[in-house]
Structures are given as C-alpha cells and as structure tokens.
C-alpha cells in the first residue's frame, strides 16, 4: 500500500513537469516545416522599416529557410497607409501582412482579405491560447490571423527630474493619485509662475483615460458587459475628470489639446522638446536608442501603469495584443507553402524583433529579456539610456495580466466619437461629465444601429 501511495505521490509530483513539457512541445513543435529547404519568394508588409529590426528578422528567418526570399514592404499605419495596403492586397501584391490595431485587422477579416487559416491551424494542432494567450480573435468562427504582436503600457520617467524632486525609488506599484502627486512634484516653473516643464503627460492618443477602466476590467474598455458603451461608467468619468484637472486646472500634465492641435507625439514632448518629465506610453523605448533624433542627457526610468487602488489586478501591466499577422496570398499560389512557413516563424520566434521598434512580442515562448538586447545591443549599452532594473520589471512582461479587446460592434464609429468628445472635454468646451453623457448617448445609438 505504501509503495502504491509513494508511486502515486511521485506521479503527482511529476505531473506539472510533464504538463510543462507538453506545453513546451505544443508551442514549438508545429513552427518549423519538416523540410526547411523549401523555396519561394514572398512579400511581407509591415509598418516597420528594415532598420527597425525587420532586416534582422528576415536574416534570422533566412538562416533557417535559406531558399525563401522575403521582400519587405514598409507601410504607414495610418488610414491612408492602410488604404494603400488594402488596394495592394486586391492587386495581389501582398503575401504576408501584419495588421496593426484590431480595427484594421477586423476590417480585413470582414472583407475576406486574409486567407482563412482555420483548417491549417486544426491540421497542425496549433493551440492559440498556449501560443498567444487568447483564441478570441476570430471572425465568423474562422481564424485569419495570429495575434502575435503586442504593446506594453507604462510610465516613462526622466530620472533627473524624478531624483531632483526627491521622489525616492521608482515604484513597483502605484495609484493614479501617486502619479499625479509625482507629476506635480516634477513640474518646473518659470520665474513668472508659468509652467516651464510639465511633470507628467498622457499619451498623445485620446483614448488613454479609458485604459484606467481597462486596467480594472481587463478587456473592452469601450463596452459594458451588456454590450452598451461604458462611457457612463463612474471609473471612466473620474478618469477623464482627473486628466482634465491635470491638464487644465492644475497644469501638471502636458495638454492633450496641444498634442492634437499641433500634431505632436509624446516622444517629442518627452525627448525632444523636454516639455514634460514623464509620460504614459506604449512605445517610448523605441525612440531611446535613436540618439541622432532623440538624444538626451538623462536616464529614462519606468514605472508600471498606475492603478485605482493598490492591490488591484493591473491588466495594463502585461502585453496587450495589438498586431495580427496573416496571409493574403491566394492559397493555390505556388509560394503559399513559403508564406505559411514564414507566417508561422514570424508569429513565434520572429516576433521578438518587434521589440526593436518599441512593440512587444506576444508569443508565450519568447525568451525573457530579449527586448533589452534587441533595442540596445547589450545590458551595458542599455544602462546608458535606461534604468535597466525598472525596464526589466515593467516593459514587455508578457507573464503579467494583459488587457485585450475583442468586442468590435461599431468600433470605428465609437472610437471616432470617443476621440471627438474627449477633445471637447480637454479643450474646455464641455465639462467631462457633459462630454461623456453626450458621448454615451451617441455611442449607444451607433452600437444599436449596427447590432
């Protein structure tokens, strides 16, 4: 009996190891083709340039698949750039495409511009959850893309200003109130009392206050559980009111009205013009090694996305799915096997190269710490630009809880309404409460019209 119990106990102890082994096997065994000498020529469309990690990605791919020629086509990830991508797909010029932003991917799923990969995924036993953390990204129950690229949200901090304000160690967890207090402490004034350098800043996009709610609920910040919009939620109302206070009343955050009116981006105010000492951002790290355009004389530290209350699960602390890769080529094309081989490799091993452009790999098998070396070359080199310890703790931690979006009813309309009414509040045309009340009414109408 004792022997049986011992054996059972031993078997139980071995189970997690076996499971881990099985898990490890699941997420790598399908990636490489049996025959890596297959040949072909494919065009790969992506918003990043060769110098932003893509040349290295293709070289790495070719070290495994030497006979597949990959031609990189860089496009602008704005509405005109995406329009040109779509017309190029129709013209048959795009073989493998990374769509940035779920709404762009969704429009392509809906229009059938991506090849349906469902059968291939089933045939090869690809586990979406094990590989990329979610199987939510489907359209009409079909899989068109892999959600392999992500964004990590954090606060980038000028350490000179942080230390001068006597704010101590960088926080490992902090609340919005803590961040506003730090912003106030880091705000510098001219002799006449006007602001010289703002202590903090939101990101230049309008929607960042909705991520306060997103960090609490973990998904779909624009929508409530019942499918209506969430802009009347007290958390969102308070978040916009807080941003309004920081920018208009207390003047401790760089105003979003200037970001939008003057077409500025947060890396410019933080690194070039030095008009803010810290900033919420998903991509600041991309610009730090670019000393020609963004050279600075300070070290950048990193604090996590603030929470409403300490102890709260922070869904903005992980890596949120952002880019989706798939195939646009005709499945009967002779180069389709090459495109499939490239897509599988890019979505897994290759996706780490996104770090060179400030984005984060969302593949669960990505080696930890690869972002730092891809961005800066080595840890020693990185230390010249960033506080390495806080970088490792905060930027691109894919094991932390992640926010994601999979609700897309009237998404484009809701998003453009959100942008418009947010600016009415932050331009002081309406109070935040009035703007959000009007926004809620119009967004709910748009959602109801599409349902």
């Amino acid at each position: 009996m004792k022997k049986v119990l011992c054996l059972l106990l031993a078997a139980l102890m071995l189970l997690p190891t076996l499971a881990a082994f099985a898990e490890g096997e699941d997420i790598t065994s399908w990636i490489l083709e049996d025959d890596t000498s297959i040949s072909g020529e494919i065009s790969f469309w992506m918003p990043f340039k060769g110098s932003q990690g893509m040349d290295a990605l293709i070289a790495d791919f070719n070290s495994i698949y030497p006979n597949i020629k990959v031609n990189l086509n860089t496009y602008n990830n704005n509405s005109d750039g995406n329009l040109s991508v779509n017309t190029s797909i129709l013209a048959g010029e795009v073989d493998v495409l990374a769509s940035f932003g779920l709404s762009n991917a969704y429009k392509r799923w809906e229009a059938g511009l991506y090849v349906d990969l469902t059968d291939l995924v089933e045939e090869e036993g690809i586990d979406l959850v094990a590989n990329w953390g979610s199987d939510a990204f489907k359209y009409d129950d079909c899989i068109y893309t892999f959600p392999c690229g992500g964004l990590s949200y954090y606060v980038a901090i000028n350490m000179n200003a942080w230390n001068a304000a006597g704010l101590g160690e960088l926080p490992t967890e902090w609340t919005w109130d803590d961040y506003f207090a730090a912003s106030k402490a880091m705000t510098e004034y001219n002799e006449d009392g006007t602001v010289k350098v703002y202590g903090g800043s939101s990101y230049h996009s309008q929607n960042y206050y909705t991520y306060v709610y997103g960090s609490l609920v973990g998904k779909n910040a624009y929508y409530d559980e019942d499918g209506t919009c969430s802009f009347d939620n007290p958390v969102i109302i308070k978040a916009l009111q807080d941003e309004y206070n920081a920018e208009i009343v207390d003047k401790i955050w760089f105003p979003k009205s200037i970001y939008r009116g003057d077409n500025l981006q947060s890396q410019q105010t933080f690194l070039v013009e030095r008009t803010c000492n810290s900033s919420l951002t998903p991509n600041m790290v991309r610009f730090l090694p670019d000393t020609a355009n963004y050279g600075v004389d300070f070290i950048t530290g990193f604090a996590p996305w603030p929470v409403i209350e300490k102890g709260q699960t922070n869904y903005m602390s992980g890596v949120s799915p952002f880019s989706h890769a798939g195939i646009c080529m005709d499945p009967d094309d002779e180069d389709f096997p090459a495109a499939w081989a490239f897509l599988k490799w890019y979505s897994t091993y290759g996706v780490k190269y996104l770090a060179a452009a400030g984005h984060q790999p969302n593949w669960k098998g990505t080696e930890a710490g690869s972002a730092l070396s891809l961005l800066f070359g080595s840890e020693e080199e990185a230390a010249k630009f960033v506080d390495v310890e806080s970088f490792k703790r905060v930027v691109g931690v894919s094991t932390n809880p992640s926010y994601y979006e999979d609700e897309l009813t009237a998404y484009s309309k809701v998003n453009s309404l959100m942008a418009e009414y947010t600016m009415y509040a932050l331009n002081d045309v309406m109070s935040p409460e009035e703007a959000l009340a009007e926004l809620t009414k119009l967004a709910d109408e748009a959602i109801a019209a599409e349902r």
Binding site: L90, K107, R108, A111, L113, R260, G261, D262
Partner: protein, 306 residues
C-alpha cells in the same frame, strides 16, 4: 456620280472627325460619365469594394437598399455638421476672395511700382501645394505660433488661443488659408476682364466729372459683372468640394466643427469602406452644387450686364 463622291467624302470626313474626337470621348466616358452613373447607382446600395474578388461577379457584392443611405445621411450628425461648415467656408471665402481679388486687380491694373513682381507674389499661392501652404498656416496658428505671439504682444489676448482645436475658432485659419490661396486666381481673371473695359468709358466719365469711386462702381463693376458671375460659380463649386486645406487642419484634432463635405465622403469611403454610403453623400453634394448654381443662374439677370 458627283453626289456619290460627295457622300464618300462626307463619310471620310465624318470618320476622321470621330477619330479625332474618340480619345477625348473615351476618356470622358471612362473617367467622368461612367464613374458618375456608377456613383448614382451605388448611392442606392450597400457596397464595400474590398470584398470584390471578381469584377465579373460584381453584382454579388452589391446589395440594393433603396433610399436607406439617404435616410442615414439625414441622421448623420457629422455629415450635417460638415454641410454647415462648408456653407460657412463658401459664404465667407467666396465673397472675400472676389472682393479682395477685384480690388487688387484694379490697383495692379493702374500704374504701380513693381507691378509684375506683385502680380507674381499674389499668384504664387494659387499654384503652390495646398498641403505645404496648409502646414505653414498650421504652424502660424499653433499654440505657440506667430499669430498667438503677435496677438499677445499687442495685448489683445491674455493666453494663447487654440485656433486648431477650439470649435468656435477652428474655421478661422482655414478661411484665411482659402482666401489667401484663391486670391491669385481671382486677381488674374479680373485683370484680364479689366483690360477689356473700353478706356473711352472712363474718359467720358472723367469729362463728366465722375470721381474715381464713381467710375469704379458705375463703370468697372457693371463691365466686369460677367466675370464676377463666372468667378462666383467657379469659386462656389471649388469651395463645396474643398478637401486639402481642411484636411491639413483637421488631421488629428478629431473635432467636427471644421470638417468639410468631401472630407466626410472620403472618410466614409476610405476609412469605413462604406462606398454605397459615400456615393449617397456624393450625390447630396452634387445636388447642393446644382442647387446653388441654378440659383446663381436664376439671379444673374438682375446684376450681370452682358
């Protein structure tokens, strides 16, 4: 026999005539007539061109929805706002550019120092890239731009105005930009018209003791009224189709107070890929232009002197 030859020659002449007309005709049919009628048809449909896999099966991707697009337009707050904004642009920039253009043309038509360089200076904005000019104007009107600095320096405003994002101000930079860029064209057309006003009329008026102002209002204005009528029509149509100068200013601001009709059409077609709806919006724009052109033609009898 002679008649037969005449007929043959006539046929040959006709063929030659058609051959000469053909390139223009084909271009017109392909690039104007076909898109025009296609737009009319698509305005009654739901259509996303991205979904079209084969032109042979185009009908499969088009759903007939009757007047639904036009009903949706009536409920479309942003499109209605863009119509109102475009009317503001039309009713401010067209009179202003025509009046200023005429005054400048009249002044430059007389004896003026550096006449040619001045003409060139006024005409250059018209032939320059609207995107480049828009970027310059946006720079002038930004928060820390020259306009705010000048106004603050003069003590007229205490804090910088948000010209590009404040709804009550956001049309003003665009209006200035449009007037400035169209001035050169209006001026050149008026200069040509002024050259055709007989000198004898002015000489007779001078003998009769008419002042310069009287000569301008009683001779110049009536004599150039056909040109004014032409410019009103042409400038109104141009402003109803305004896109570039507005797009430079609205890019990123997200507010609806300064958008234009064509910008909304572009957004429906190429951001939302709702090509049926965008076609319906285009038809509405066409109707607006036809209406205003008809009103102008109707009213011209009262003030245009041929």
């Amino acid at each position: 026999m002679a008649r037969k030859y005449r007929n043959q020659n006539q046929i040959k002449e006709n063929i030659a005539g058609y051959a000469f007309v053909m390139p223009a005709l084909v271009t017109y049919v392909l690039l104007i007539a076909f898109p025009f009628f296609l737009t009319l048809i698509l305005s009654f449909t739901e259509f996303n061109f991205l979904k079209v896999r084969s032109l042979a099966k185009l009908g499969k991707y088009i759903s007939w929805i009757g007047l639904d697009n036009f009903r949706a337009i009536l409920r479309d707050r942003r499109f209605m706002q863009s119509i109102s904004n475009t009317f503001v642009y039309a009713f401010t920039t067209v009179p202003a550019s025509i009046v200023l253009g005429l005054v400048i043309a009249y002044l430059l038509n007389g004896r003026v120092f550096c006449k040619k360089p001045l003409r060139l200076a006024f005409f250059i904005p018209y032939i320059s890239s609207i995107v480049a000019l828009g970027a310059v104007f946006k720079f002038l009107f930004r928060e820390d731009g020259l306009v705010n600095r000048a106004l603050m320096g003069l003590g007229w405003i205490a804090e910088p105005w948000k010209w590009t994002v404040e709804p009550s101000l956001s049309k003003i930079p665009i209006i200035f930009l449009v007037i400035w860029t169209s001035l050169g064209y209006v001026m050149i057309i008026y200069m040509a018209a002024l050259q055709n006003v007989p000198r004898s009329l002015y000489e007779a008026a001078t003998i009769d003791g008419a002042s310069g102002f009287q000569q301008f209002t009683r001779i110049t204005l009536p004599m150039v009224s056909p040109t004014t009528f032409y410019l009103v029509i042409v400038r109104l149509i141009a402003i109803f189709k305004i896109f570039g100068s507005v797009n430079v200013f609205t890019m990123g601001s997200s507010i609806a107070s300064n958008t234009s009709i064509v910008q909304e059409i572009y957004s429906s077609a190429f951001s939302d890929y709702a090509h049926g709806y965008a076609s319906a919006q285009s038809v509405v724009l066409l109707l607006i232009i036809i209406l205003f052109t008809a009103i102008n033609f109707g009213g011209q009898k009262k003030w245009v002197h041929y």
